[in-house]
Symmetry: D4
Subunit: 248 residues, 8 copies
């Protein structure tokens, strides 16, 4: 349940279309539900302004289905599931209605939200191999109603591709820079824009990229101001944070 | 020169109080000035919405003074100098008017800006040893006109200190979490607020803290959403980014 | 053979129900038995107060069966086998009676001990993915007769889940805190209780968690007093140590 | 204020020798005092069973003196200050009565506690260079009233020195094993005793000891059960934890 | 061709049983043979006192067979092949006569040498999982004619197993200490003997053993004198070096 | 003695202006001279096409003077000394004529060479703090007669500074890219030019730059082709290699 | 399109055999083509003097085929595809004519270029396991028309194999030294030649080679001048750079 | 007390020149003496065949003097002190007769031993900066009566210097290879000789040498057989081990 849903419900209580008891049931006194194997944090919507998100990796299709159903019935109209394999998505979709995107491995259960009339989030990648992580960010941002512009394969070794898109970049309210290998994209983009840049190192590369460590260190040491970094391959985290900033 | 200063100048041109030639001289065709030992990026104010900032470490007092003078005469009304030792500050203040704060090692040359009427930036630290880095962030944010609330020494080993300040935290538009050792502050704060959290690992600690690596990794792996990370001890970067987000 | 069993046997010798020769055979002069491929440490029960435990990984089902049989016949009434795959458990159970738990991959051969009337061991996890490691700890502690309270999925990004369970935690004689990613659970719990906290970093996470290194460093740098750390994913070690402390 | 002091005070309230108002003043509603530069955690005594401890490194003599005075006046009868240089100790001792030990760099302000009639804590070191860290552990344990047996310079390269002391070791209720270089002491001791072993890696060594990393990894990988590890050079943490276990 | 074979051949030339031309053909002017995909170092026998050894990993069964045949025909009477899978051994044995040991994954082609009347090499392991690496060392040493005593599963957590074998150890001319996890075996053994100890870290372990790094660092930091270290899992290197020392 | 000097000398022998004996003395049979504490590699000029270079760090002024004198008298007309402190340079200049540059800490003894008519070497730096390393490269290249264009403080966070100098860069025969922090300069420059780029990571930076490791990994992972890397801060190596390539 | 092709085309325009419009179409105004999933950098031929190269790993056979076709039709006569598995090569060859080499996993589509009359590139490897990486370098260099001499299996443990080939090495214009394990080849070769040495660390080895890290560090620390390093296993990068240098 | 001294003493007992009581006093029942701050291992001479050696770093001149005096009076005729600064040596020499060498920082107290008639130990270094470590090895070996040949500054970048000394090397019974930077010396030497090579990585170098890590990894991965490694800068360990091997 997010803040808007909470306000709506309280308004219904105020004008008598919802009984106080039913409201209490919906809000619940304890801020989490205990499913036995997981304590669902039902108030995160209120506290953090975002519905429940499920990290799909390491959970069975059955566990995912149960948590999704529980949330949809109790606290939110839609659920975002990240890092869910195509196989699991197939199983889950037999229990709950699901939109699944195989590139980003993201599934959305419940109703799709409308685009909000907020600023633009630009998502840039260094190469084509970074696209899955970028899509995780993009789909997450879109899930929360943001407009997203994709600017893929604009790595710094052909810096004219970035310069050509300077206008797109400068129109952004937040930029997400996704890159593996040397991760230089974040610094170059950071120097071209007047807005926060969220850098996502990816594990793309080989040898001395050490599973994304090289890009991670690069981005942390960025000489451009306004750049901050999330975990390697953490497209979701970047998309979620971009939504937070864009809402402000 | 920031956007507002640019607009003012162009308005003066429009209404005849500034000649075109003088405007050209001020804007300059090349977006940087060459001082011989440094290319000052005079358009960064326009491009990035922030005046020139000088990283004081590794520069002599003489070099700092020259750059500051050049900027004040050509492109900005105030200059922020970070990581400047007390000795250098003394020398610089003989050449240009300077406000210096020894805790954060920050100096401000030129006129102090007025507070803007924007959201609140809350800066929390895990312990008292993290305060110098936190002050670097705080002073930077204040330099750009932001309101800053300091919440120091609220580390997670006495989590009630954080809970007691839940209201302060939830009223923030951005939170900066500054912590060394295990860096857990970012995760706990991240779970308590509905706004971006900028995590600053510090090199406070010993042994297996490996100069801030432990806190850095912790923060990158934060299980809370909305958390992003800047370089170890990079208070300036956090303050600058917080200002960017707060402006949106 | 543990201290109690040793005492019983010597009492039997004292009152004539066991001949000296048979006692000698049982105690054996050399404190280990040589099975050819392994030297079984038969006196560890006496020396360390615990029966033999078998680390199942890297041993064949046949080797496990032989060692278990040897121990059951000579020195102990029950044997704990850790890190045993479901397949191996199937094979072993054809040779010796075996209780097997697939979540913790722990098998117990021989008789199950009675719960002792000692303090309570609370085992907390940051998320649901940490449960297998937590169960290894829990089953180990229970094998030695301890009472165990499970507090799973109480990670610090929703710190109210921990606060709500403050009473459970403060009633513990030992707490085991199991967490991957940023491992902050140990510090927060450490600040809430008045008893030893055994921290178990897990390899849960991705990217900059570097296979548990991030959680490990976090826990070693804990700002809370009373926290010590065992190896990554070492649920057994934590359960065993908790039993040792609880016995005191 | 620890539990005993709290009980005493409440008893005084119960039998009328202390007014309710004065008791309230002493207990305070907020569980920490704000000195401006530090939030003193006055309830830690109640919550964690131990008086306030001050980490002296990075604090000025003046700051230490102020915090010590505040604690002695409000919540505890004695204060332990760790990692305090001889110079600072000199300055502090001009403000508050102080016992200072230069080997462990520990200072104790206020009254010295009586030895409790609990089990014995044995502290072993690999070499003579590990003694300062061992003394930090020893003095901390003694501060809380524990009996401590020192077993210094019994490193594993002359294993007979350990064997000779087997009886001392087996009489311990907790053992603290302090060693740098290869840190093997923890494993060998761990195999000789039937009680918890707290391993403290030290930064003693050179080259591939990498500031204590070698000993740290060794101890985490100990093949003996019942061993847990604290941060490199963290003698205080080990002594504090040993006290916790010994009290049980 | 080793030194003895060379001397024999030259003696045959001296007493006329071998023509100079045939001798020249055997010795060859260039000290390596070019097989196209490999330059076989035919003089290593002369230069280094050991026949050619083939590192089987990464070579096909066909390549191994060709190199073995070439060496047996030209320069040596037996060939040692290390790290050869059982499958490859099967294929190779169809081309050349081969003794294969699956534990050590070592194959020997050509004639088996007689035991020399030299000192004893003792090979000790910490646990049973270290045996494959130990056997690689043992079989290598035996290939060169050394007497080898195996002392397996004598890890330091049950140090009496080592003490019991003190006599065996002190009778050694060289000791090879093979251990994973914390690698403490090398230090303890190093302190018990009066001869060189070759330490072999193994990749046995999990979590913070980091693939053998923990044992490696431990062994390099050994506080016992006379210990040197070879690469992780390098049983062959240890066996070869032990032979070199034993020959002296 | 370089190839040209060798040819000249042999021509003098050919036309009788130098006796064979004197030539032999100059060339020497052994290709190095033994000064007791150092074996001077007199043939490196012939073999590698470059005169002797002395690495000044860790050598006393007296040792440097002796080696310089020996080389000047025997094999070369000029000597390059790198990493020599201003103090040592003062002492050395009392023994041999010396040109010293304090920025690069390079000294040149003997005669200064003429500029050759070869291609241009462009040396770019990310910031002003990288200049000492860049100057080491520049002075080395100039020592060997190359033309050098300096392009300092053109870091990627203000990428227009690089674009503006595209023509200078594209006219280079070799580019040396010197940068610390995230080291992105190498990749961006690498994508702009059609010639080899030698990347020099510098130890400029703090926190997660880990003494230059971040820039090093970045440069090794460069997505631009034609980039290779030398050691951290190795300006000499870059200048020397640039000369080699420029000569081809 | 490379520089020569561009010149030819412009000459055709100049002498009327190509219309201006057709020329414009060929050159294109934007320097990259957008295929949706990839922005092909069509001007890299002009800018960097080399045709487009495709990094095959992580791309599907279908994507490779599309990019190859697009390039062959628009900007270049031949395309180099690296790191392409045999399976993908089979699929690609059904769409475009393809020469494939399974050792180097390199495919060449379009016409094979003629050898240029430039200097010789010598490629040396330490062992036979380094050959695949060496072949990637060799085939790349040959693709651009260079003459390549292969010197495989000349590792430094039999340094006479290198000495014997001193003449081959000294005749090189560039040397590529490919080695795993300790990577010493680069230093020894670097000291033997008077030309640039490009060092390629390989991931060949085990244990403490840490996936090529050992060889990488070795090569970066080479005591020989003129050595620079590319990423682990980056044969392509070395071959490409060697071509650049050889062209000068 | 070493074996010879023990035999002599027992012989004196046998022929009546020493009373049993005095012998008992000299041998002592406990194999170490407790000086309060150090347990001197008096039987190491018997057990390990070498007199007591004192590691001087971290000990005060007073402590060193006391230990030396104790040993000289009780168990040995000479004592080796390593890593002792010149200042401490001055102080120690006022209490006990001392030979001090400032290059190796080694002091010898008591009588100098005679050279034994054993094999030759060759000690080679890569450069002149490695000499202090090499001298620590050399002086240690000479302390135990070995003949030592020094071969300094024969690094692999001028491999002819090694080839020229092939005869010296091949006459060795043990070789100690001391090198920093890339540490390739061990591999090249290892391939040239038929005896054990003890590799000593040094911390000589900068940047990516990471304090000796680069040389250490190189040496562990040596492709030559017969090479083993001791800790970074551990000249003493190498000299001691060389003596052990040479004695065999």
């Amino acid at each position: 349940m997010n803040k808007d849903e909470l306000k709506n419900m309280l308004t219904m209580v105020a004008n008598g279309t919802l009984s106080v008891d039913d409201a209490v049931t919906k809000i619940k006194l304890q801020p989490y539900d205990d499913l036995g194997f997981a304590k669902i944090d039902t108030h995160r919507g209120v506290r953090q302004g975002a519905d429940e998100v499920i990290y799909g990796e390491g959970k069975t299709a059955e566990q995912i289905s149960k948590i999704v159903s529980h949330i949809l019935e109790n606290s939110a109209k839609s659920v975002l599931i990240t890092r869910m394999s195509e196989d699991k998505a197939g199983e889950v979709s037999r229990c709950v209605p699901l939109h699944y995107d195989s590139a980003s491995r993201i599934g959305i259960a419940g109703e799709i939200r409308k685009k909000k009339d907020t600023g633009n989030i630009v998502i840039a990648t260094g190469g084509t191999s970074d696209i899955p992580v970028a899509e995780e960010a993009a789909q997450t941002a879109e899930f929360y109603g943001n407009r997203v512009t994709r600017l893929y394969d604009v790595g710094v070794s052909g810096v004219h591709r970035l310069i050509d898109n300077a206008e797109v970049l400068s129109g952004a309210k937040v930029v997400i820079a996704v890159a593996g290998m040397e991760g230089a994209l974040a610094s170059v983009v950071g120097g071209m824009v007047d807005c926060p840049v969220i850098a996502v190192p990816t594990s793309v590369g080989y040898g001395a990229s050490f599973g994304g460590l090289s890009a991670l260190l690069s981005m942390l040491n960025s000489c451009a101001s306004g750049v901050s970094v999330v975990n390697i391959d953490n497209g979701f985290g970047a998309g979620y944070l971009a939504n937070m900033i864009n809402k402000i």
